[in-house]
């Protein structure tokens, strides 16, 4: 009756099976590589994990070395990065999605954000060094403007110098494009019909955003925030430029303090010839992974909390 030659069912089923096998092997390969990596790290590093490792500074002897300075440095820098990048990213995404007229300028901005997310992070490091650490040379770093005493928690100076604030701001630059794009994607998942419903009840645009769009997009936005922070926590290159110190015997006390971060410490230890240092590098990797998992579970917890009233 109908034109065309019938494709035998057996062949179609064969194709079906072949594709399944292909996808399954791809997944297996990825999982296998990842678990091999994790297992080797755990075997190498688990023995070095103890309270002493977490609470000591670096040392020339691997047995005495600890990660207190990079651990605290990572926490400080990532906290600053998150506090800056997440609100900025969400606000930018809100403007671009909900307010900005669909002009060529907007497309240009959009294209640039997409491109910026692909710029090597070391470039941001150089920018951060010039802008944050040195204020483009407008104020001499030898004779900075200061506010408060250097011992105080609230000590500030301009230029920021190579401290945690400059590091956090630089990381914020690195993750900002990712955060913006993720937040935009999240906003796009909110059905137009919900915005229309709110508008038709007499909402202002801000009321639509605040009461409808943002709450509906928030769970997806949290996923974007997790991704951004995961990127930030693992960055080493830009902080190396900013002046992440490789051997540090203090924890940050204020926004201007010198700092180092876990990826830098891992890089340092892993590059040494002695096997003992490789072991503590693996230990530091485990700590970093746990930190990442903690971050993510906090985000998941918040996400769950937000969704609960709907269930």
């Amino acid at each position: 009756m109908s034109a065309g030659r019938a494709i035998p069912i057996a062949r179609r089923l064969r194709h079906d099976r072949m594709l399944l096998i292909a996808c399954l092997s791809a997944t297996t390969l990825a999982v296998a590589v990842l678990s091999a990596l994790l297992i080797s790290v755990f075997i190498q590093g688990l023995s070095s994990l103890d309270w002493h490792f977490l609470s000591s500074y670096a040392s020339r002897k691997a047995a005495n070395a600890g990660i207190l300075a990079p651990l605290m440095g990572t926490l400080w820098v990532c906290a600053i990065c998150g506090l800056i990048a997440v609100p900025l990213g969400v606000a930018t995404a809100l403007y671009l999605e909900e307010y900005a007229p669909r002009t060529r300028l907007r497309s240009l901005v959009q294209l640039n954000i997409a491109n910026l997310s692909g710029v090597p992070s070391i470039v941001y490091g150089i920018l951060g060094l010039a802008a944050f650490a040195r204020c483009f040379g407008a104020i001499s770093t030898d004779d900075p403007w200061t506010l408060g005493s250097p011992d105080s928690l609230f000590f500030l100076q301009l230029p920021f110098g190579r401290g945690v604030l400059a590091g956090g701001l630089t990381l914020a630059l690195v993750v900002l494009p990712i955060m913006i794009i993720a937040a935009q994607e999240a906003l796009r998942t909110v059905p137009k019909s919900l915005r229309h419903a709110a508008l038709a009840l007499g909402s202002t645009r801000w009321q639509v955003v605040w009461k409808v769009t943002l709450p509906a997009a928030l769970p997806t936005m949290m996923t974007g925030a997790i991704l951004s922070m995961s990127r930030a926590i693992g960055e080493a290159a830009p902080l190396l430029v900013i002046g992440g110190v490789l051997l540090l015997f203090s924890v940050p006390e204020n926004l201007m303090s010198d700092f180092t971060v876990l990826p830098l410490q891992i890089y340092n230890w892993a590059g040494r010839p002695q096997d003992d240092f490789h072991k503590i590098a693996a230990g530091a990797i485990i700590v970093q992974l746990v930190l990442l998992l903690l971050f993510n579970s906090v985000a998941l917890f918040i996400r769950h909390k937000l969704q609960r009233p709907l269930q």
């Binding site: 919900l194 229309h196 419903a197 007499g202």
Partner: protein, 281 residues
């Protein structure tokens, strides 16, 4: 995304008929005619969807807008609360008066207009919030309420939309757990909770099963006593069942308008007769 609203004083503008331009000062007219269109035309970019529509819609009655797809009836409805502002390239000319408001005026406070003109959409679109919060959404936008006042208002609105007995035990559960018909009645409750003067309904039953449709239609007949209702529908039986007056549109023009009985049983125009008897469209 403000639309370009052009005000062209048309020859049949109420001001040209000797009435004062200020609608607020002529309550007698605006009471009888809740909505008045004169020489109303609408475009999406260069495409004209409505041309020179003159139409009066009386207060506290149900007016059905019928006609084949693409005839411009939904566009007209969306101009009545300026929802077309959200569409790029949408513009209109002529005059559209609604309870004393010049709807097309660039100075119009759209937020106030939309509080006074509620809308029910084609597909039920409850917020992913609790039933209570859905109904309380509108009131909370405009005023600050004490808890008991708000609870009373929500109950009243849900009673008016004939949903109260079904949901009174689960007010704080998600509205998304309701059936399609219940969701649409919730949307009606949400719309009337802000105490509008006019209710616009854009094919409110097209996504519903027959039983839910029947309950919405019954509701529309009850709501007529309080609100002026304009309903767009593709369902001829529905138009004849729920409406008092009917306006038939075709190809962007108002072909015929009158009492629903007359439009359906003794249409003046051949095209109306063909359409209502199912010969085209």
């Amino acid at each position: 995304m403000m639309p370009t609203v052009i005000q062209i004083p048309s020859p049949v503008d109420p001001s040209a008929e000797g009435a004062t331009p200020d609608r607020a000062s002529e309550p007698a007219v605006s009471m009888a005619k809740a909505i008045q269109l004169r020489g109303f035309s609408a475009w999406y970019s260069a495409h004209q969807v409505l041309s020179a529509v003159d139409l009066d819609i009386a207060a506290n009655r149900v007016c059905a807008l019928i006609g084949p797809s693409g005839c411009g009836k939904s566009t007209l409805l969306r101009w009545m609360n300026r929802m077309n502002d959200t569409i790029l390239g949408a513009r209109a000319s002529g005059s559209l008066h609604l309870h004393g408001l010049q709807v097309l005026s660039p100075d119009l406070d759209v937020v106030d207009l939309r509080r006074r003109v509620g809308m029910v959409f084609q597909k039920p679109n409850p917020f992913p919030k609790s039933i209570f919060d859905n109904v309380a959404f509108g009131p909370r936008l405009h005023r600050q309420y004490g808890r008991t006042d708000l609870e009373e208002l929500v109950e009243q609105s849900l009673r008016s939309s004939a949903l109260w007995t079904e949901v009174k035990d689960r007010l704080h559960r998600s509205a998304l757990g309701l059936s399609g018909g219940q969701q649409q009645r919730l949307c009606i409750a949400r719309a009337i909770a802000v105490d509008p003067e006019v209710l616009l309904m854009d094919e409110p039953c097209s996504a519903l099963d027959p039983r839910s449709t029947a309950s919405i239609e019954e509701l529309i007949r009850e709501l007529r006593e309080t609100y002026t209702i304009v309903i767009v529908t593709h369902n001829m039986q529905q138009a004849s069942r729920v409406s008092d007056t009917t306006a038939f549109f075709d190809e962007g023009r108002l072909i015929e308008t009158g009492e629903t009985d007359e439009v359906f049983t003794a249409p003046r125009e051949r095209r109306t007769e063909d359409y209502v008897s199912g010969r085209f469209g």
